[in-house]
């Protein structure tokens, strides 16, 4: 008998998937407040999981040249520059000149760049209008600029600024839409509560790619199958830490039992608030959110969409019963229409 929250709401996913007495649910807590953008996680993940190269291109939008999570990038370090104080007392560039942001036109051009990641849809171009808006707003100074920020404008025009860095990864949702819609059973729930693709089963139907509310899973062009973070299922099985967390030099990526991580994260947010970083907030930690909470959750310093995360994702299968009802009604209408057309008095 399926759990009442099988499609939506708080749930412990491993027992719901049929595991008897599974180990505690494991996950990631990615604390972006200590991320230094070194991308060691990206490299370690590729090394351990034998993920193919994702191209060597400059995207021309920031120090982030990976661009997005793809089938060939299972960790992605986002990079955002903002004309805003980092939250601590000393302005970062007190004695340096600072200045106006790069033009929205330049940001719009940057949004049009794509790169061949060897995956589909991989990293398609973005919306130039949205990028221009981002650059015009307080989120963005336009990296990489040709000059240090503000050279030529003098002290009067100076604004403070900060860098946001965030290592994104598959969220291993409690209610994973990719897993729900997979028609082959290739995607499955592990005993650790994570979500993994079996590459010997996947036939590349692409349904999971449209279903993921975070835009994580992606298709590899040369082999046609869908790929994403496995939370190093092979390492977990022998009690090892996933490669990215192992490689992270600042403990921005923390691996552990999800319950412990949630406690640790709550304490970290409280500390940051005390230290004068009111923007610090958790993302994906809440079992009552639209996906029943993420197995990989984050501490962010700005709104989720600034990092390319959806602000309020909801697992699409929440509405599946209602969808089937509508389809049933439509099917009845179709049968009734045919019956009427053939049975009625003919002109």
């Amino acid at each position: 008998m399926p759990h009442v929250n099988s499609l939506y709401g708080p749930l412990d996913p491993a027992p719901d998937a049929g595991y008897v007495d599974p180990p505690p649910r494991m996950g990631f807590f990615t604390d972006t407040s200590v991320c230094i953008g070194c991308k060691a996680c990206e490299v370690a993940c590729k090394e351990w999981n034998d993920v193919p190269t994702s191209g060597l291109d400059l995207l021309g939008m920031s120090y982030d040249n990976t661009g997005a999570l793809t089938a060939n990038s299972w960790r992605h370090v986002a990079f955002v520059e903002q004309p805003r104080s980092a939250g601590w007392a000393t302005p970062a560039f007190e004695h340096e000149p600072d200045g106006p942001p790069i033009s929205p036109e330049t940001a719009a051009v940057g949004a049009r760049t794509g790169t061949d990641t060897g995956t589909d849809p991989g990293l398609p171009p973005g919306s130039p209008a949205a990028a221009a808006r981002m650059s015009g707003g307080p989120e963005f100074l336009g990296m990489p600029g040709a000059q240090p920020p503000g050279r030529g404008t003098g002290v009067e025009q100076r604004t403070d600024f900060r860098w946001l860095m965030m290592s994104d990864v598959c969220k291993h949702c409690t209610h994973a839409a990719c897993l729900d819609v997979c028609p082959t059973g290739s995607l499955f729930r592990t005993e650790f509560g994570t979500v993994v693709v079996q590459e010997d089963i996947c036939n590349g139907c692409g349904y999971c790619i449209s279903a993921c509310p975070y835009g994580v899973i992606d298709q590899r062009k040369d082999d046609g199958r869908a790929w994403k973070c496995t939370l190093c299922y092979d390492r977990l099985g022998v009690g090892m830490t996933p490669a990215c967390a192992k490689a992270c030099p600042t403990e921005s990526i923390q691996y552990g039992a999800l319950d412990d991580l949630r406690e640790r994260a709550a304490a970290r947010v409280a500390t940051l608030h005390e230290q004068g970083v009111p923007d610090a907030r958790l993302y994906g930690h809440d079992p009552n959110d639209g996906v029943g909470g993420d197995g990989a959750f984050f501490l962010l310093l700005d709104e989720p969409e600034v990092y390319g995360l959806p602000p309020d994702p909801i697992v699409t299968t929440r509405d599946l019963p209602a969808m089937w009802k509508r389809a049933g009604l439509a099917a009845l209408a179709m049968a009734a229409a045919t019956a009427l057309a053939f049975l009625g008095r003919q002109p």
């Binding site: 919306s127 221009a132 997979c182 036939n203 969409e305």
Partner: protein, 351 residues
């Protein structure tokens, strides 16, 4: 306000923008009609304008399948109706169109896979949470039945005597049973595709879940009526005129909410996807009206049939394209979710 041209100059900003209200920009779409005014201005933050969602990797195979699958389902129903009301010419057209449609569907579905040689992995499991799995099993039930029903139409070509003569005598009964069995699964085949698209994170598809099955049901009947009007003997097509009218009613009434979804409905009324959807409706209206007027005229019947088939193609490709558009622009992901959050936090005042 400077209208919808972008990018806009950075300096023009009235309100001090907080993190929730990333900038003070207002964008009004040049829309007309009452619904458009409710579309909220696209104020939102993004990561360098990049899409949040991965746009569907389905190629036009899938849009084509939406059409051929619908055509097969509708034709199968027409074949059964003709069978039960004694219209052999129309019955044959319906059965052959059903077989042609389902054969094309199977090809398109397998061809769209990243690993076509693994198509049979779909048959490993039956999953209620996966509309694609359900659809696979519906097709698996429908396809062979539609095939048997169509092949049974060849019975008159067999010799009257010998073992093949026996087959000739048995074929009509077998064909009738298979035709009815196919028709029994046909409504599911035509409407599950609405759930297939809606059960995704693609904003324009998901939010349209109440409408899509009706649009697809109507479109399937329209396409099948169209093929019947083109190919069946004029004396037997009277039910198809009524069926075309019913199809148009189901599709237009079911689909009238598409553009009223708010922002996520925008691609159904604007751009290339919007033009396809609108063309589909116009062709449906023209095709239905012509069908009702055509009576015994072969030429008018064929014209109306062609319009109905074209309408179905345009609708399917339009809906398909609308989803892709809505997944590519972060606007359709962020703005509705922000609104939802704002509603959730209604009592709390925001800076």
């Amino acid at each position: 306000m400077t209208g919808a041209t972008s990018p806009e100059p950075a300096g023009r900003r009235e309100s001090p923008a907080g993190p929730d209200q990333p900038d003070g920009q207002r964008r009004r779409r040049a829309g007309h009609g009452g619904e458009q005014l409710t579309v909220p201005p696209a104020d939102f933050a993004s990561y360098y304008g990049r899409p949040i969602l991965k746009p569907p990797v389905w190629k036009h195979d899938i849009a084509g399948y939406l059409f051929t699958g619908g055509l097969a389902a509708g034709s199968s129903l027409i074949g059964a109706g003709a069978q039960l009301t004694g219209r052999p010419g129309l019955r044959a057209v319906g059965r052959w169109a059903a077989l042609g449609g389902v054969a094309a569907s199977t090809y398109l579905l397998v061809h769209d896979l990243g690993r076509p040689d693994r198509f049979h992995h779909m048959l490993r499991v039956a999953k209620l949470t996966s509309p694609m799995s359900i659809g696979t099993w519906i097709l698996t039930a429908f396809g062979p039945m539609a095939g048997v029903a169509a092949v049974a139409e060849l019975a008159p070509l067999l010799p009257r005597h010998g073992p093949l003569g026996l087959a000739r005598r048995v074929a009509p009964t077998v064909g009738n049973v298979a035709g009815l069995a196919a028709a029994a699964t046909a409504p599911a085949l035509a409407t599950y595709t609405g759930v297939l698209l809606a059960d995704t994170a693609v904003p324009a598809w998901h939010d349209a879940y109440p409408s899509l099955p009706f649009v697809f049901a109507g479109s399937a009947l329209a396409a099948a009526s169209g093929v019947g009007l083109i190919a069946a003997p004029a004396a037997q097509t009277a039910p198809l005129r009524k069926l075309a009218l019913a199809a148009a009613t189901i599709e237009l009434v079911g689909g009238r909410r598409l553009e009223r979804l708010g922002l996520t409905g925008e691609p159904y009324g604007h751009g290339r996807s919007g033009r396809l959807v609108m063309a589909g409706r116009a062709l449906l209206a023209v095709g239905t009206a012509t069908a009702l007027l055509s009576r015994r005229s072969r030429i008018l019947s064929a014209i109306s049939g062609a319009a109905l088939v074209a309408s179905s193609v345009a609708t399917r490709f339009g809906v398909f394209e609308a989803g892709r558009v809505s997944a590519r622009d972060p606007k359709y992901t962020v703005v509705p979710q922000r609104e939802r959050l704002a509603q959730k936090n209604e009592p709390a005042t925001r800076p």
